[in-house]
Symmetry: none
DNA sequence: GAGGTATGTTAACAAATTGTTAAAGGATGC
DNA sequence: GCATCCTTTAACAATTTGTTAACATACCTC
C-alpha cells in the first residue's frame, strides 16, 4: 500500500483529502505544521508528498527545497490557493513535480497523484473486470466484448469511484463529495441520473442491475 | 550491447562509473579530455553520453551545443558539482536530456541512464506508420502516400510526443509541459490549434479523426 | 393495499468544452 | 528592410456534457 503525506493547515481540506485517499486505497498521513511535515517526509519515506504552499512552521517552497537538498526524490505535488502568485517555473525548479490550484476537484487531484506515481514508479497497470466489461484506468478506456465505449467525464469519474469502493454502500453525499468535489453542490438526484447512465452502458441487463445496486434509503453499492 | 561514453576529468569517479556500467551490461568508453570526448561522441556514435560540466579542453556545455549543432541526437546526461551554478533550463535548452548533481548515488545514475535510453532508444531507425502516413524520426520526415509533407517545428514536436505516448489520454497540461517545456506559458488552447493542424495534415478524414482523438474533458489521445 | 417516500427515467435547457478561423505579433531568412 | 512563415490567441460556432424538472415506477410502513 502506498503512503501519501499530506501537509496542509486547513483542517477540513486535510480531512477531505485524507478520507479521499483512504477510500482510494492509499495510506494517508495528515500533518498540519510545515516543519513537522518536513520531518515526517524524511522519516516516513512516503511514496508521495502533498504540500500546501502557505504553511505555519515552514513554507511549502522551503519543504521542497530542503527535501531535494537532502536528495530525497519523493514526488511532490504543491497545493496553492488561487490568490497565491504561483510561479510555475519556480515551483518546478525547486523540485516540485506538479502543482494544483485550489479549489480543485478531488478526482483531478487523484488523477494527478496517480499520474505522478505512475511516472516515478511505473507499476503493472491495473485493469478491472466485471461481467463483460473491462476498465483500463491507465488508458482511461472502458470496453464491453472488446468494443470500446464512450463515457463522459463524470460517468467515468463515478465509475472509478465505484471501482475503488466495491461492496460498500455509498451515500449520495459521499459520492457527491468524492466525485464532484467539495466546491460544487449539485442536487443529489444528479447522482441517480448518472447511475442510470452507467447501468445503461455497463449492465448486461440495465433493468436488472447486477453491479450497480441501489441500497434503498441509503444510496448505491457496487459489486464487481 | 549499448555503449556509454563517459567524459569526466575526475579519474576515480570515471573509473567508478566505468565499473558500474560494465557490471550492468553496458560497454563503457572513458575519456578525460573534453575535446577528445567530443570527437569520440562523433566517431563512436555511442548510445548515450555522460559528460561533466567542467572539463579540460572543452566544457560540457560546449560539447552539448556542438553535438546538437551537428545534428547528433545522442542522449546526453550532464554531471555537475554542487558548487556549480547549474541552470537547469539552460542545460535542457542547449540539448542536454537530463542532469545529475554530484555527489549522486550510483543507483540513481543508473536509473536515469536507463530511463533516458528507454525514452530515446526506441526511436533509433524507427519509422512509425498509421493509415497512409509515415514518420521517420531519424530523418525528421513525414509523408503520406510516399509524398513528403511539411510540418512546422511545433507540429512535429507535438506529433513525436503523440507517437511516443500512444493510446493514453494526454492532458493539455501534460502536452504543454512535454512539448513546449515548462519555461513557456502558452494558452492551453494552443494545443487544440495544433491538433487541428495535425489532423488536417495527417488524418484521412480530418472531420472524423481516427488517430488524434479528443478525450472530452481531459485532452487528446493518439491511437496509431 | 393505501399512502407516502424513494428511485428510475427521460428530455430539455444550461453550461462547459472543443473545433475552427483569422488576424496580430514574432521569428526567420533573404 | 521586406517578405514569409510560424505561433499564439481571440472570437465565434459546433458539439458534448451536466443538471434538473417532471413524471413514472418501485419500495416501505402501516
Amino acid at each position: 500500500m502506498q503512503t501519501v503525506l499530506v501537509i496542509d493547515d486547513d483542517e477540513s481540506l486535510r480531512d477531505t483529502i485524507g478520507v479521499l485517499l483512504e477510500q482510494e486505497g492509499f495510506n494517508a498521513v495528515l500533518v498540519e505544521d510545515g516543519r513537522e511535515g518536513f520531518e515526517k517526509a524524511l522519516l516516513l519515506k512516503p511514496d508521495l508528498v502533498l504540500v500546501d504552499l502557505r504553511l505555519p512552521g515552514m513554507s511549502g517552497v522551503e519543504i521542497c527545497k530542503q527535501l531535494r537538498a537532502a536528495r530525497i526524490l519523493t514526488p511532490i505535488i504543491v497545493l496553492s490557493a488561487v490568490g497565491d502568485e504561483v510561479d510555475k517555473v519556480l515551483l518546478l525548479e525547486i523540485g516540485a513535480d506538479d502543482y494544483v490550484v485550489k479549489p480543485f476537484g478531488t478526482r483531478e487531484l487523484l488523477a494527478r497523484i496517480r499520474a505522478l506515481l505512475r511516472r516515478t514508479a511505473p507499476d503493472a497497470h491495473k485493469v478491472f473486470h466485471f461481467s463483460d466489461a473491462e476498465i483500463d484506468l491507465d488508458r482511461r478506456m472502458v470496453s464491453r466484448h472488446g468494443e470500446e465505449l464512450k463515457l463522459t467525464p463524470s460517468e467515468y469519474n463515478l465509475l472509478t469511484y465505484f471501482l475503488h469502493n466495491p461492496d460498500r454502500p455509498l451515500t449520495r453525499d459521499m459520492i457527491l463529495n468524492s466525485v464532484w468535489g467539495y466546491q460544487s453542490f449539485p442536487n443529489t438526484r444528479t447522482v441517480d441520473a448518472h447511475v442510470v447512465k452507467l447501468r445503461q452502458k455497463l449492465e448486461p441487463d440495465p433493468n436488472m442491475p447486477r453491479h450497480f445496486l441501489t441500497v434503498h434509503g441509503v444510496g448505491y453499492r457496487f459489486v464487481p
